[in-house]
Symmetry: C2
Subunit: 145 residues, 2 copies
């Protein structure tokens, strides 16, 4: 059993079986961990959503990112209604195994507001300003779905 503490000081290339690793992921009391989606091409952080174990496994099995919708309490295949899918390019866990970073090839806008990303509310002095998000758009994000 290779635990997280051992992995902290392990040499690069050290491997643990995925299923064994998933047993150590620190899902919260709702069975979820936060997952950050980052555009693989531009490096832009697109959104933060949540995954349960099943969504992680389906994401890895299908190569398309699947979250768990807290409002609908169901698996959420990103883009299943909008067409704005996320093709998985990499999936990483952090040192504590309580957060996920997915690298994605984003089809269309990532945000439900049709902005490229969800983080368009930017603090500026004593205000929060709507920032279109298109300044940081990439050709990749703009490709038609």
């Amino acid at each position: 059993m290779t635990d997280l503490k051992t992995l902290e000081t392990a040499e690069p290339g050290t491997a643990v079986a995925l299923q064994q690793f998933l047993d150590q992921v620190k899902f919260n009391d709702q069975g979820l961990v936060p997952a950050i989606a980052q555009d693989s091409a531009s490096g832009e952080v697109l959104m933060l959503a949540w995954m349960n174990r099943e969504s992680i496994e389906q994401t890895l099995a299908t190569g398309q990112v699947v979250y768990f919708s807290r409002s609908r309490q169901a698996l959420w295949r990103k883009g299943e209604t909008s067409g704005h899918t996320q093709h998985l390019t990499s999936l990483r866990f952090d040192c504590d195994a309580d957060a996920i970073l997915v690298g994605v090839d984003q089809a269309g806008p990532a945000c439900h507001t049709n902005r490229k990303h969800c983080f368009y509310l930017k603090v500026q002095g004593d205000d929060v300003i709507v920032d279109a998000g298109s300044e940081t758009a990439t050709t990749q994000a703009e490709k038609p779905t």
Copy 2:
């Protein structure tokens, strides 16, 4: 009162007073929201931690990133013991105001394991592999503290 729904379709440049916006942030039942730290220079996602309202306000007031430590149940001034501080370059909320993206100028490694970032556990086939994280290092991240 400019609510989140109104902001979804607001023109770029629309402003809301920060304090009024903070009243709408969806802190969880522990009073926290997840905060992603991204290296401003390289675009690399460094870590995910948590903020309460006080840590957001202190981050903005001091220009140094302050999280809330769930294990210690106290404000956590990133780098207060390690010297690996995060100088704030931007702070953004997402469309639902339940996640934060901080742009940072990272002094030294972001991870407590002395890796550049925390997401060094990468899925590869049926395994999770320790990835040093140094492949994506930047000059900025490597500067001595």
